[in-house]
Each structure stands twice: as C-alpha cells, then as structure tokens.
Symmetry: D2
Subunit: 325 residues, 4 copies
Amino acid sequence: MAKLLDESAKGVYIISATPFTDTGELDLDSTDRLIDFYLENGVDGITILGVMGEAPKLSPTESVAFAERVLKRVNGRVQIIVGASSPGTRNLKNFASKMMDLGAAGVMVSPVAGLKTDDQIEAYFAGVVRELGDNIPIVLQDYPQLTNVFMSAGLIDRMFTQWPSLKVMKHEESPGLRKISKLRASEAKGMRRRISILVGNSAMHLPQELRRGVDGANTGVAYPEMLVEVCRRFFAGDAEGAEDLYDIYLPIIRHEQQPGIGLAIRKEIFRRRGVIKSAQLRAPGPVLDADDHKELDGLMARLERKLRERGLATGADVGRRRAAG
Amino acid sequence: MAKLLDESAKGVYIISATPFTDTGELDLDSTDRLIDFYLENGVDGITILGVMGEAPKLSPTESVAFAERVLKRVNGRVQIIVGASSPGTRNLKNFASKMMDLGAAGVMVSPVAGLKTDDQIEAYFAGVVRELGDNIPIVLQDYPQLTNVFMSAGLIDRMFTQWPSLKVMKHEESPGLRKISKLRASEAKGMRRRISILVGNSAMHLPQELRRGVDGANTGVAYPEMLVEVCRRFFAGDAEGAEDLYDIYLPIIRHEQQPGIGLAIRKEIFRRRGVIKSAQLRAPGPVLDADDHKELDGLMARLERKLRERGLATGADVGRRRAAG
Amino acid sequence: MAKLLDESAKGVYIISATPFTDTGELDLDSTDRLIDFYLENGVDGITILGVMGEAPKLSPTESVAFAERVLKRVNGRVQIIVGASSPGTRNLKNFASKMMDLGAAGVMVSPVAGLKTDDQIEAYFAGVVRELGDNIPIVLQDYPQLTNVFMSAGLIDRMFTQWPSLKVMKHEESPGLRKISKLRASEAKGMRRRISILVGNSAMHLPQELRRGVDGANTGVAYPEMLVEVCRRFFAGDAEGAEDLYDIYLPIIRHEQQPGIGLAIRKEIFRRRGVIKSAQLRAPGPVLDADDHKELDGLMARLERKLRERGLATGADVGRRRAAG
Amino acid sequence: MAKLLDESAKGVYIISATPFTDTGELDLDSTDRLIDFYLENGVDGITILGVMGEAPKLSPTESVAFAERVLKRVNGRVQIIVGASSPGTRNLKNFASKMMDLGAAGVMVSPVAGLKTDDQIEAYFAGVVRELGDNIPIVLQDYPQLTNVFMSAGLIDRMFTQWPSLKVMKHEESPGLRKISKLRASEAKGMRRRISILVGNSAMHLPQELRRGVDGANTGVAYPEMLVEVCRRFFAGDAEGAEDLYDIYLPIIRHEQQPGIGLAIRKEIFRRRGVIKSAQLRAPGPVLDADDHKELDGLMARLERKLRERGLATGADVGRRRAAG
C-alpha cells in the first residue's frame, strides 16, 4: 500500500476520468488501461471520483467498484486520492472511511455549495475535519468556478493552521496566481507549516503557477505526459524549457478546459489515443458532433506536427507504444 | 395502493420532513408519528425525500428504508410522491423505478443546476422524460431560488404539451403570481390540456395563488392543518374565509420560510407539537440557539392566542389530541 | 439643516420612491407630496436614491435635481440620507460630496457586485472610506439578495471598529435574525462602540428584529404609518402591541416585498392613496396588469376591513386626511 | 464620417481601453496615442466605453469628452462603436443618440443583469430596440460571464429576425464554439439574413471561431497587430498560418484574459509598449505588484524571443517604430 498523503505531495497527481461503455455502463477494462496509461506516463498520484470523474452520476455501488478496481490495478505504486465531497457530512465520512480502508492515501473535499462568508466556510470544514478524525489526510479543493465558494488566502492559512489533517491545497481558483504567492508568503513569515499546493483548473497557468511556488499539478488533461515532463523540467531547474514544452500543448489545453464540453473532448482524446474504448459521458452530458470532431482533428494534428517539428514524442507515438506494449 | 398521480391532483400534498434521532440516525418511529399527523390533519398526498426531507444527506439505503416505511404506514390511503432529482439521469431512473415498484404514485424532479437557456432546460427534461418512460408520473418542480434554473410559462407550456407523463407543476418561483395566470391562460386558449398546479415556496402567497387558479399546495409547513383548511374553505367558495384563516398563520409561515434555518424551525415546531422526538438536522445544518428558541416561543404563543381569540383549534390542541389519541 | 447622521439613529428612516409622470419624466410635484406624506406620518429620516428610488435609471442631472427638491421640501426637519453606491469610487465620492454640500445628513453605500471574500469586501470599503474622508457619515447597506456580497457579523465588527465614519448598519440580509444578535453581542462584550442598526428587506421580520435589538427600520413600504407606530409602541415598551399592529399589515407587506414587481405595487398603492400622480416605473420595469390590480384591490380592501374592525385609522383615512389637509 | 455599422462588419474591431493619469484623471493625450496605435496596426473599427473601457467608472461628462476625442482623432477613418449599456433604457437612449450625433457608427448593448428566461431577455431588447428607433445600428453583446444572462442561438435568431437595427452579434459566451455553428446554420437554412458575428472573450478561441464562421474579432488584447494579422491570413485562405501566428501569442493572451486583473495587465503592456503613459485603473481596481510585474516580464520576453526566432516583428519593434514615428 502507498503511504498516506502528507504535505510532501509533489509532482503530478492526475485527475482520472471514469470510463463508460457506449451504453453508459462502467467500463472496468478501459479503467485498467487508463490507469496503466497514467502510470506509464509517470504520474506521482491519481485522484479518482472527482468532478472530472463524473462521481455524482455513479451509484454508491459503482463508486466503490471503480475505486476497488483502480486501487487493485495501482497496487500501491502511487498514491490514490478519492473525491469524497458530499452534501451531507455523514455520507462523506462513511464513504471516506471505506475508501481509506480500501487503501486510499487520502480524500479530496470541496465545500458544499451555498457557503458565503469566511466564517461559514470555516464552520463547514470544522465539521468535516472533526467528523473525519485525525487519520484521514485531506486535499482541500478550492474550485470556486464550480462551487461558487470563495476562500481567501487568509482563510486557507487559518484552516491549515488549525487542522493537521489538511495536507494539500488543490488550488483552482481563476485567476489565482496571487493567491499562490500569498500562501507561500505566509509560510515564509512562519505563520504556518509548509503545505503542498497542487494546481487544478486544467493547468491553464501551470508555468506561472510553478514559478510562484506550487508543488505540481492535480488536474486531468488528456496529455498527462506533458504535465509530468513540465514538472520534471521545472523542478530540475529548467523553468524556460518547462514553459517551452507547455506552450506547445497550450492550444489544446485551452480547448480541453472549456466548461461543460471539456470532459467530452478529453474522453474523445483518450479514445483516439487508444486508452479507453468509448468517449461516452453519462447523461446529462454533451456528445461531440461532426463539427466538434473536425475541430479536434485539426487541433490534434497541429499538436502532432509541432511536436514532430521539435523532435518530440507525439501523442500518436504514445498511443502506438501502448498498442505495441 | 393509491392510484397513480395525474392531472387531477388537488388539495394539500404536504412535503414531509425526515426525522432523525439526536445522534442523526433515521428515526422511523417518529416517521410513523409524523405520517399519522399528516393523515389526521387531512392531507391529500405526501411528498417525501424532497429538499425539506434532507434527501441528499441520506444514503441510498436509508432513502429506500424511509420510503418503504412511509409507504407501509400510509398503506394506500393517500398518494405518495417521491423526490427523485439527481445529478445523473441513470441514478434518477433507477431510484424512480424502485420507488414506483414500492407503491409511489409519482416522482418529483427538478432540473439539475447549471441549466441556463430555455433550450438547455427543455433538452434536460427531454432526456429525463425519455428515460423514465410513459408510466412514471412526474411532478415538475420549478424552484429557481434553489436551482438557479428559471423556466418561463412558455417553456412550461411546451414541456407539458410534449410529454404526457408530466402531470403536476410544482410552482415555487418567487415572485410567481403572474406565472400562474399565464399558465392558466394557456389552458383557457386551448393551447394544452389542463394540468395540476400546486404551490410550494412555503405557501407564502397561498391565498393569492388560489385566487389565480392553483389546485392546492405542495409544501411543508409545520401547521398542515392550516393548509388543509385554507384549501377546503377556498374550494368550498369561501375565499375570504380561507384568507382570514391563512392570515392568522402568516407570521409564523413567514418565520418558517427563512432559507437555511427554516427547516430547523419546522422540525422544532414538530417536536414541540409532540410529533417527532428530535428536531435534529443532519450536518451541515443549523441548530437553534437560545435566542432562536425564545423567538419561536413568542411566535407560537402569539399564534395560539390569536387562534383562541377566534375560537379556533390551536396547535396545542392538536398536540393534546394526538397525545390523547 | 438637520444634524449629521450618527450612531444614535433610531426609528423609521423611510426609503423613498422616485415619482415619475406617465411618460417617465421626473415628477417633482408628486415628490413634494410624497415627502409631505412621509413627514406627516412621522418618519425620523428619509433615504433617497436607493434601489427603491430607481437611482441607476436617473441621469446625474436628475439625481441632483431630485435631491435638491427633497432637501428643500424637508428643510431640515428630518435627516436625509442619499444612496451613493456607484461602480467607481471616484464617482461615488463626487456625488456624495455634492449631496453633503446640499444638506444631506449622510450617504448610503453598498458594496459593488463581485466581491467575494471577507478580505475583498474589507478592501473595497477601505477604499471608499478613505476616499470619503472623515466628515461624510456612512450607512453601510448589507443587502446580499441584490449585490450577492455577503458580510459576516465578524467582518462588520471589524469594519465599524476601524472606521468611525461608518454610523449605521442597514441590515437586510435574509435570513438575518441571528446576525443582529451577533452584532449586539459584540457590543455587549465591549468589542466595539454601539452602532445603529436599521433593518431593510421590506420589514418582513420587523417585530423579531426589534426584539433582537435593532434601532428601527430603513425600508420603503407603502404604509409608513405602520412602521412608525410599530417602532413607537415597541420603544414605549409594548412589544406585543407593536407586533399586533404589524401582523395586520403583514399580508400586504409580504405582497409588496416581491422582488421585481414589488416596487410597481408600492407605487400603485401610493397612487391610490393620493400621494403620487402616476405609478410609472422607468424602463425596464414591470407594469401591473388587470390581474395584478384586482389582486391588489383585494389585499387593500382586506387591510382596510381589518383596521376598521379594530377601530384603527385606515390607509383610506390617511388619504382623505391628506386630501382635506 | 465613417458609414454606419451594418451586417458587413468584418475584421478587427478592437475594444479600446480608457487611459488615465497616475492620479486617475482622464488622459486624453494617451488616448490620442492609443487610437493612433490601433489605427497603425490596421484595425477595422474601434469600440470604446465597453467593459474594458471602464465605462461605468467615468462620469457622463467624461464619457462624452472621451468619445469626442476619439471620434475627432479617428476622423472617419474607421468605424467607432460606443458601449451604451445602462440600467435604464432612457439613459441608454439619450447617450446613444448623443454618440450617434457625434459620429459613432453604432452602439453596443448588453442585457441588464437579472434577466433569466428567453422571454425576459427578448422583452428587454424589444424595449431597447423600440426606444433606439430604426437609425441606430446595434451590436448585441452576449457576454454571460459578466452579465449572467444567457442567450441561446434560437433566441438570437429570433431577435435578429425581428429587428433590422441589430447588425452585429458580439459573441463572447464561453464555451461558445457550437453557438457560432448554430447561428451560421440558421443562415444556411435561410431562416434569417446573414449577420456579422465578431468574437470577444479576449480571443481565447479565435482560430476555432474563425473556422466556424465568424467575421472577426471585437475584443481588446494588448497586441492588436496579432488579431489583425490572424484575421488577414485567415480571410486570405491561410487558416493554418493564421493559427500558427495566433499560437505564438496564446500564452500571453491567456495571461491577459484573467478576469479582474486582466485589464491591469493589458494597460501595463500598453504602457511598456510606449502607447499610454500610465497603467492606472480607476478604483476599485487591481494594481500590479512586484510578482505580477516580474511574471509579465517573463511572458513578454518569451513572446519577443519566439517572434524573433521566427523572424517576425516584435512588440518592441512596434514600440520603437512608434517612438521613431
């Protein structure tokens, strides 16, 4: 079993999709291939059952089945974080405990919708942290574009100071570059212990976020190899090289991150790369039409061309390697 | 078993709370008493597992257990509608089917959050209606204060025209008086069949809504006897008498309908009236403090005094009658 | 000239409508009558150019003309507060200064839309307070239903502690009863000076708010005589008598407070009471239709009947008295 | 004077910033330079007093002064569109008329906040179009990220069909690629006349939008030369070349488009390029800090390096040419 999540989390914790068949059944064979794909590409951890994992559309039985399959496939090689956000704290607790028993390294929790002031948000998490106890490491997900709950750097400082079970700040407010600097400044002043900050939001500002002090990415693009290599170069001291690579992928990253349709695009890319069998989302969810496909053809072809021009491995190569593997 | 829900639904379909013990366990004994209380007060139907029923905080197992208990206790005397809204259509369908198999008369569905334009809303319900098939009667819940999804009268006309399985419009937009008139005008012009319109939103405008043509209430105040008697008087031709009675209760209705804390107030009134054992909500949820209790003391005492002054049965009497029962 | 606004503000600061002619011109004759009407009914102050005053639909020239007319008519008999909220601090400052020069007792400021965290809200008001200087008394408007900006009691404490020019908290969050208790508790603990708290939100919970410690009302119902008498009774020690009177008016207060259409209803009541000549709102704004008028007929008739039954002066009497006066 | 705006609008209609001095005064000398800069870079039109122009923070006198200065400087060489959105239709009309009298080619109007259903949006614009009359060409701004008003393609079809004075659809919903295809499909089916569609939203998806049939851009990046050249190449048949150029700028376009701080970044780039004297925004507004400046240094240096590597003119060259000019 992988060790529990702590403040040393660093690198790429990919957010995993949940593969379905064309008729919407959980596709556990594709799940295996997807997990293998992530591992082959060198991720440091995998977060399952997040927003991108369509978690709220799974039945509880399916969620457990999916988590079990992933944990079994990974078999302790990297840490698995499980999204556990829930409208009720009791359900959250029960699910989180079950996931930890199955071997998860920690859980990811975002605030329930409707929280407004700093006090309300703090009170909510106080309840969650108390309920989860000291032994379940928590990734605090800060994704106001989705939850409409906004956490200031000061509030995050207060919460991480109070509760040792908070380990990782998943930062995906946008814009949010200044917030990273503020959080690191709090540490520089000795206001609280150093925490891990991983960025989400489709990595739309990853090079700038790395320069401002984040420890890596916790997001779910369809080209995980880029996230891994960008982080590798950056932490090896080659910030410009990291950004050069990133910029090649930026056009498609920008295309992928479109709210709503973005996940359908990502699943289609995974499908085209030979990783999952069907690009199906569960309803309600978008289905790509002919225009969307043609557009994606163009963007993928452009990416491959640019990678080839620079002598870099292309997504197609990765696909071929997988097929050959 | 009660007959299936159809467009003739009329009177009071009370929205039921879900009783918990002080430690947050499902309290099925209190559930029996609560259901008896509703029936003794003359409701025409009961909607369970709605927003007021804290449905998203129950586990699926608990939801089924609660529904089974209610259906057994009611034993076909009135129609039971079950809230089935869910982020995913597949879960919605599975749960709705199970509820119908258990003897529900229909299900209540509200749109998922995030739908914006008329087209998006219509497309969402097209998917739900197709999935549920022809044999599950649907209450369309229109509660934009909660969902942030706004449906125009024209859109509602279009949806009820297309889909015969939509039977009841649960109207709780606020303000929404004109919408009722528009919906009834569409029927007067022969644009579509007559549907049942029941009002929610804590019955804050019930007398005006009845005068504009609604068929009754589908909401969850802690004084169901008032809703029943107001509707009885109104449909017996005594609109002024109905409103006179209503106005006596309005101060506490207004107090009860406060978003967030309202449900805690209602459960406390049920507790004080001897109906449920604990006023507990599941976390995250408010707990009344000393000021809140004192305030409620005052409002309940005022209501009883006003009822007594007019020679009407008071909540306390109902409580006593129940205790004696 | 009336003295400047300070923390002793108490009683009824009515929010004034802005009368227009049927063609949408500023109606300054009706303005005089409306101001006289407020004064005859015993208000302690008048707030002009707030949300209810359709301020954003006036041209700057019209705003100044309207304010001048009101200030001249009042002639120092009560304090005049002027709504000065603006997207830009510079415009806010210029307008506020002009209003103070004309004789206003203070200005009302609400946060700009889009502020999220406590820090953002505090930073915004820091800028406004600095810009306005020490000599312009400020009513802090807390109306999240409109602005979507939520201020916790703790934040309000911090802001009033820092900035002496904040004098009055206009409380209209809903639900907000607990917030009042929290604010008064801060004072009881000596955390900051006692401030004036006046409630808005159409006085929907006025009796409870008075019992929790507010100093009066700062809202704009079409029956100001009720607000004045309720506050008079309450501060004379007759809380129950105050609430008895209030409850008679509650059905129409509830009708008036409907977002969107509420102002059209209020202006129509003022018109019917002989106070203003036209019920016109500036576009875009609702126009009452035949159903709305008939509904209002009923509610006004019911109010008059209930007042007569209790031997109280009716709105009609006030109207007649005015016509005779 | 330039001809009035019509459905043939094509190319780059840049959205202009409004330059201020360090103390927040309108800076009309910088305005001249900014306008010259836009013209030298080959824009086809200029939109002033939009969101990016900080219009709501100007006084009416300043708005007129700014518009006069721009119109005089441009002197009919390109079309000037003026943002005229306003909470009240009367103010909107008066301002729009004045702008047309001064020589504007048309006005841009976005819906007021708070409109929800298709019906409400249509009713709002019906009022605006009626008020503006037949002779004021209108750009319909569709920017739901700001207004929270969402317009479906079907609604836009209906509105453009009804009202000939609507000429240009400023499309900036995000994601919105499918909406463009739908709008063009309506035309292909002969449902309505062909309209001009220009894209906003910081041109974040410009190459894809062009391929889906838009006529150009109506947005305000700090590198207008890129927008002009991308459109030129695309309409000359070189879609791939257009996108190659675009991709070089994408990293900084993505950086510029950050809500809130984006305008401060743009003004700073204009300042660095020698176009405006101060990067000042009016309060409330962000001010770049040392980290922000350093980050921008890096992004601008990277852009210049990439342009040089490809033998393209850099921003610095444009600046030098201006200084020399």
